[in-house]
Each structure stands twice: as C-alpha cells, then as structure tokens.
C-alpha cells in the first residue's frame, strides 16, 4: 500500500488569520482539550463530535464523510479542519502542516511510524541522476520554521527522526539550530541527516555540527564510486566526490558519526564489489555502510535507460562487497532489496528498510517463507520487478 501523505482539506475554518499556515497535532478525545494551542481533536462521527464538544474541545479535525453535517454548526472561536477518508490513517499524536488559504496540507509526523522524516529544503547542490526528490531552486526557508514549530509537538518517546532534502545543509546555520532544538526537546530521539556531505569539507560547518553536541546524531552520506568522475557524473556535479570524501574525513576526525550510502543502479552496481573493497580499505572507520536498492521514482524514471539494472545482475558482486566489508569490521546493511534477489549469505544484513507508507509485496510473496523478514518492494513511483522475485520455498 502507499499512504497519501499530502492533500487538500475540504474545510479549513477559524485558523489564525494573521498567518498563512499552521502546524497542528491530532489528539483523540481521551486527551484533555487544548494541551497546546496546536492540538485538534480527531473526530470521525457525529457522536464523537458531540463527545468532543462536551469535553470542551474547540479545535476539531474531521476525517471522512460521516462528519459532513457537523460542519453546518459554525461557532465563533471554533477551529475546524476536514479531510477525506483517504487520510483515515491519521491518529493520535500525528502532526500536520496546513496552508490556510489553499487548504493544502501535508502529514509531517506519524507517531506510530518508525520512518518519520522531515524534508528540510528542496534545494540541492547535487542533481543526482536517480534523485527521488528532484531538487528545485526555490525560496523554501519557511520549511525550517515549520520544523521548528513541529518539534515541540513530536512525542518525546519517538525513537528516531530523519532530516532529508534536497540538501539539508543548504542553509546550514539555520539547520544547525534545528539540530540543537532536537538535542534539547527530543533528547531520547536518534537523529539521522541525509546529506551529500559536501558542506562538511568546510571546517566552519563541520565544527558547527560538532558544536551541537547531539547525543545520537548521524550524517548519512552517499558515495557512489572509488573514482571521482564516476561519482561526479552520478551526482551531476564536478568536484562533488572530493568534497564528499573530505567531508567524511573531517566528520570522523572530529569524532562525529557518519554512514556511507551507495544507491545501486547501472552506473554503480557493476563495480559495487570494488567500491566496497575501497571503502573497507580507505574509510573503515565509518559507522555504517548502507547498500541500497534503487527506488524507481523521480529522476530515476526519466533516466531509466541509463540506470536500470536487474539486481540479479549484481547479486554476486553485492555478496562479495558485503563480505569484504564484514571482514574489515565495517558494519554493513543492505536496504530495499527483497531476499529472493540476494545471496543467502547477505540475508543477515538485509534490512526491512522501505518506509511503511510506500512498502508492498506482490502476489508471489504470499507463498514465501521469508516474507516476514523481507524488505518487500517499493510501491512508489514506477516499480520495476526483478526477474529474480520468487517465493523462497521451505
């Protein structure tokens, strides 16, 4: 299944007219009304609406069609947002950002998910051939404000959060203040930042990052090759390889945690064994290496002819690469690839990595004994199926 994470509300009334957008948190009726000004009671039926009113709620988030008649009861001081039943998955503790005028909204945080990520900006100094989130050169600094408003609403028992982009370090001074707020407001929450790492080649930036002194922070940085021009071609930026590698060295030199990510496609997968050996030899001190199946979405669809390779065609090289990293004591995982296309030797490293809202299986998977442990497949974009997808028999 694929969850719809954004849409247009059918109603949006009573919200602060002095601002053009709000960040709100959904609460069930069991909670006290209006713990914070951002809390809205989730209401799915007229009965629930009555209960909410009698519990003195003033802010309501209607989900589905059954509540249509309730909207006919306007009242001063009452705030109402109404969305279609497509968003029935929204639940207690979830956070939504909404534009008052256009009524467009986006699910920013789902308390029950292990895969919460905040998009920091759509701007990026790379332009990767397979980018799943094609960059836009626009002024979107408001997103950082939205994140700052969201953080106090995030359940403090949340285990992990991801910041992604674009390049999250584009406005690095602002972003570092967001990390500092994570440290103060969510001290139990691990933070992962998906960055191309180029900014860390600047000592001022890497020192600011270290200066946050976050207790559980990791920078996840893509490296696509051991050779400069191949990496630069993949990320469409000359000089990127040098800055990225330098960035990783500077992070580690300052005792910061860093993960290397290699997305596997036709430009990177045929040499994955060599790339892994190179990482094992030159950067064995990184904290984690993730070898990742390609999500066929965004630019990857446009560049399909250049990028598509059946995972069966790099199966052996991947197994060799994983083996080499393990032998060098490097912590390695394989993401986004179903077990049937992987050598069994790799299975202990294969992770159920695909975010729940875009994760699925095909009919064949129903007969597979490994299904419960398998990553499954992407449902997003234009999924391509490997010829190797086959139920694993007992």
């Amino acid at each position: 299944m694929t969850l719809q994470l954004f849409g247009t509300a059918t109603h949006c009334v009573g919200l602060n007219s002095g601002r053009d957008r709000s960040v709100i948190r959904l609460r069930t009726l069991e909670n006290c009304p209006g713990e914070t000004a951002s809390d809205f009671a989730v209401v799915r039926t007229p009965t629930e609406f009555d209960r909410a009113k009698s519990a003195n709620w003033k802010s309501f988030f209607f989900i589905g069609d059954e509540t249509g008649e309730c909207l006919l009861e306007p009242e001063i001081g009452r705030r109402i947002i109404s969305v279609s039943s497509q968003f029935d998955y929204l639940a207690d503790g979830d956070i939504v950002g909404i534009r008052h005028g256009s009524r467009r909204f986006r699910t920013l945080f789902r308390r029950n998910s292990r895969h919460n990520s905040f998009l920091v900006t759509e701007r990026c100094n790379n332009y990767c051939l397979m980018c799943s989130q094609p960059p836009k050169d626009i002024d979107d600094n408001w997103i950082l404000d939205e994140i700052r408003e969201s953080l106090p609403l995030v359940d403090p028992s949340t285990r992990s959060l991801t910041f992604t982009g674009g390049e999250p370090l584009t406005d690095w001074r602002d972003f570092v203040t967001v990390l500092a707020r994570c440290r103060d407001q969510l001290p139990q929450t691990a933070v992962q930042v998906l960055t191309n790492g180029r900014a860390f080649s600047d000592s001022e930036i890497v020192d600011a990052w270290r200066g946050v002194n976050h207790p559980d922070l990791i920078a996840a940085i893509p490296v696509y090759s051991s050779v400069d021009h191949i990496h630069d071609h993949v990320v469409q930026a000359k000089g990127a390889f040098d800055e990225t590698i330098l960035g990783i060295l500077k992070l580690k030199d300052r005792g910061q945690r860093a993960e290397i990510r290699v997305v596997l496609h036709a430009l990177t997968a045929p040499t994955i064994s060599e790339t892994c050996r190179w990482i094992a030899r030159n950067l064995p001190f990184v904290d984690h290496v993730a070898l990742m199946g390609l999500e066929n979405t965004g630019f990857a669809i446009a560049n399909d002819a250049l990028l598509w390779i059946d995972p069966m065609d790099y199966r052996d090289g991947l197994a060799e690469g994983v083996d080499g990293l393990i032998a060098a004591g490097v912590n390695v995982s394989v993401y986004n690839l179903p077990r049937c296309v992987l050598e069994p030797s790799v299975w202990p490293r294969a992770v159920q990595s695909i975010s729940d809202w875009k994760n699925g299986y095909v009919e064949e998977c129903g007969r597979c004994i490994e299904k419960d442990r398998c990553s499954g497949l992407f449902t997003s974009g234009r999924p391509r199926l490997s010829r190797g997808v086959r139920a694993v028999a007992p």
Binding site: Y127, D228, H229, Q236, F241, E243, D253, N303, A328
Partner: protein, 485 residues
C-alpha cells in the same frame, strides 16, 4: 525536464592530474607490482606503467580508474586523495604514540636445558652470578614505569625464568602496586620451557592473570633433539605443561613458539600436526636468529634463506589446507604481515616496524642490571658485542636510555623510509628495519639489503601471500580472515 550531463563532462585532463608517491617492482616479463604510499598493491603492465607515469590517461580508459582508486593519482586541485593517504599513514604509524610498551626482565640466565641453538647463551651454574637481584629488579621497575606508554607489558625471560620464581613474584606484586598508584596498566608474560611448571606457579599465574609463552619445536624426537635436558624429556614436560596451563588458566592463556633447525626442514607437516593435536589455535613458523649459541655451535649456518622459505611455504600451504577442511588454524607470521597489508592497524611488532622497535618498542633488563635495546641486543652482548647495551639500571633512567646517542643513531640510521633499496621497495610499507639483525650479520645497523636474508625472507613471504590473495580465491578468503584480528 532537466538536462543531464554526459560522463565526459566530469573527466579530468592530464594537466589537471598529478602523480602521488608510488613504488614498483617488476615481477614478470610484462607485469609490475605497484604500491601506493600506504602499501595497497595493484598489478600493471609495462605499457600501463609508462602511461601512468606520463599521466597519459583519460577517464573511462580503465587505467585512470585503477590508478585513481589505488591512490596513485589525484586531481591537482583535489584534497581528499591526499587526506585519505595522510589519515591512513597516521593510523599505520600510530604505534609510535605508545613509547616502550614492552619491558623484558631477564630474571636469571640459568637454565636446566642445554639447547645448542640457544640464542641467549644460557648458564648452568652459579646462582649468585646469573640471577637478577631484588635491588636490580626494583630499579628496572622504576625505569619501566617511567616509560610513556599508557599500558606496559612485563615479560619474564631467561635462561629459564622459573628458576628464579621468587623474584618473579616480587616483581609482579611490586608492579601491580605501582600500576594502581600511577594508573598505568600492566600485563605479564612468562617465557618458560614449562619443565618446572607446578601448581604453585599455575596458581600464581591464574591469580595475577599472567600469560605463559613456551617453546615447542614439533614431535617428541625432534623437540628433544633440539632441546636437550637431563632426562631427555623436554617434550613430555612442555606438552604436559601446555595441557595443564590450558586447563587451569584458560585455552587462550598459553602460547607456543617453534624454532626451525636443520632437522625441522622436511618435517613441517609433523610440526603443525603437533600444534593441532594440542588444540593450539595456530603456529608461528620462525627461522633461527644469528645470535648466541646458534652462531657458536654453527646451528645458524646449517640452512639458508632459500631452505627456510621452502619450509615456510610448505607449512603455510598445509595450514591453509587445514582451514579449507574446516579447522580454523593460523600461521601467525602471515597474520602479522596480512594485518599490515590489508589493514591500517598499527602493528608495533618489533621486526616489522620502522622506526625500529629497539628501545622505543622494548627495553631489556639483564640479570646483571645492564639495559639493552632489544632481546637480540643482550644476546649479542653475551658473545661480547655491546653495541646495543644502552646503560645500567643504577646509572640510568628511562630518559637517558631512550635518548642515548647509541639508540638514536641505530634507529635513525636504519629507517627503511629513506634507506637504499628499502625506500623504493614495493613492500616498504609492510616491512621493518631490524637494525640488530643487520648489525649482527653485516656489522651495520642499516645493512646492504640485497645481501640480507631478512630482506629476502620478507620479500618472498609477501610475494607468496600476494600471489595467494590474487590467484587462489578459497585460500585468499582464509588469509583475509587472519588480517587484523
């Protein structure tokens, strides 16, 4: 939709490329072994070497990619290639940060064995003359605890150190007291033939977490021939000692070393079998060193580097076969070299480092209070050569010993990084200086390397290991597991 650039847009012209330091050696009619600054190897043809050196490469031609990934070239404006090399070199050399971690106490020169190959020239009589005094031991401890390493190892040597067990006990308890006071960790090893091992010794080792290191040359008749003692039962006592020590101290608290004599040369399989049967996790195939009785009794001259290498290669291949059949078992010298070749872990092993480990890796306190730069250095002194005698415990302190002109001269004159033959050697990153050996064999700490059996042994072993790594996948997988752990 955005426009994407083709691969060519990201290439570099040869003006924008720069060569990084490399060494090379011709290993076939048209094959060269090439190593980068930290000793990663690739193989290139003569034509490729010429193109590389002239920077006649273009991205996409295969050679560029090979050379770039191996850190043989960089873009002139790039920094990462050089910084990666710098970081790795720093890691490889970081053993230098732990100055003098090893302190060897020769608590007695007496021994009840009379091995003709004895490299330390043991004595059989006269307790008063050849035992270390308590006063000397305490002065030696003063010096050991002055050294800058955060953790030190005290190794008891002889002779047979258990002949002076009382002094060992005194030193261990004094060292533990000092360790607690100054916060410097201390480990202990007793190098013993185990003939005198009894329950009291074992109990003491257990309560003080002392490792035992012993000698085992192979099957009974070979071992007993190499290592005579009254009763002719050296083998029986060593084996019983190893078994007993494993039982009482734990399987990994006793190690054995073998020495290769002429009689060992065609028996490597039997020797390995002996180690396997005892449940030991590996073997260290060691040649004789040119010191002490080994020279006097002409043991050392009985085989040359070629004989020994044939013995070594046969042994290594046998060990690999044992692993292929499912029993994990190592050859420890190969493990050391592989750790240097396949990782950047700092290996301070005395023979495999430059700057050499004499003095700054280890100090030896002889029974009579003289202090030597290495165990081999005191072996030389027993035959009249005091070149590596740095001083005496009563006259010197740690500083005066390690900053002595004698030591500084021997270390600085033997650096492989700038020595003729070594500085351009394709194996330099993984080798060592070994000035005592070269002094003993050539009368010069640096030595003429083409005449050095140490050099030819090192080169041949590394070539052998590289050949297996590149050409025998099953054995290569085994060797990789030995590296770094």
């Amino acid at each position: 939709m955005a426009r994407f650039l083709s691969p060519e847009a990201f290439g570099a012209s040869s003006e924008a490329m720069s060569l990084l330091p490399l060494n090379l050696e011709r290993i076939g009619t048209n094959e060269y072994l090439v190593s980068n600054m930290v000793g990663d190897f690739i193989r290139l043809t003569g034509d490729e070497i010429n193109k590389l050196v002239d920077l006649r490469m273009i991205p996409g031609d295969g050679l560029y990619e090979k050379a770039y990934a191996a850190h043989l070239i960089t873009g002139v404006n790039q920094k990462a290639q050089r910084q990666v090399l710098a970081a790795r070199l720093r890691s490889r050399m970081s053993f230098l940060g732990q100055v003098t971690p090893l302190h060897i106490f020769v608590v007695t020169l007496r021994c009840e064995h009379s091995c003709p190959y004895c490299q330390v020239s043991r004595q059989s009589t006269d307790r008063s003359r050849f035992d270390m005094s308590e006063e000397t031991a305490h002065r030696a401890l003063d010096i050991a605890f002055e050294s800058h390493a955060s953790r030190i190892k005290i190794e008891f040597q002889g002779g047979e150190p258990l002949l002076n067990f009382g002094l060992i006990k005194t030193i261990v308890s004094a060292a533990r007291r000092r360790s607690e006071i100054v916060g410097k960790g201390v480990d202990f090893v007793i190098a013993s033939n185990l003939a005198l091992l009894d329950d009291a010794v074992l109990e003491f080792c257990k309560s003080n977490e002392i490792l035992l290191s012993t000698s085992l040359d192979g099957p009974a008749e070979l071992h007993n021939k190499n290592r005579p003692r009254p009763g002719g039962n050296s083998y029986e006592l060593a084996v019983a000692g190893i078994r007993r020590a494993k039982e009482v101290l734990g399987p990994d608290r006793v190690g054995a070393l073998m020495t290769t004599t002429e009689a060992s040369l065609d028996r490597v399989d039997d020797i390995i079998e002996e180690y396997l049967n005892l449940g030991l996790d590996g073997i260290f195939l060691r040649p004789l060193s040119p010191f002490g009785f080994a020279i006097k009794t002409k043991q050392y001259q009985r085989y040359d580097a070629g004989n020994w290498l044939r013995f070594y290669e046969k042994g290594l291949r046998r060990v690999l076969e044992i692993n292929r059949k499912g029993t994990p078992f190592r050859e420890f010298y190969a493990s050391l070299i592989l750790t240097r070749m396949l990782t950047d872990k700092p290996i301070g092993y005395v023979d495999l480092r430059s700057p050499a480990g004499i003095g700054i890796g280890a100090l030896v306190y002889n029974y009579d209070g003289s202090v030597f730069a290495s165990d081999e250095g005191r072996m030389l002194a027993e035959t009249g050569d005091n070149s590596f005698r740095l001083g005496h415990v009563t006259d010197d302190n740690y500083k005066s010993l390690v900053l002595s002109d004698k030591l500084v001269e021997a270390i600085s004159s033997s650096l492989t990084q700038c020595a003729p033959e070594c500085s351009t050697c394709v194996f330099e990153s993984h080798c060592g200086a070994d000035p005592v050996y070269h002094h003993a064999t050539q009368g010069d700490a640096l030595g003429i390397k083409p005449l050095s059996a140490f050099c030819s042994r090192q080169k041949r072993i590394m070539r052998l290991l590289l050949d297996i790594l590149d050409n025998s996948p099953a054995d290569a997988a085994i060797l990789r597991r030995w590296a770094g752990s």
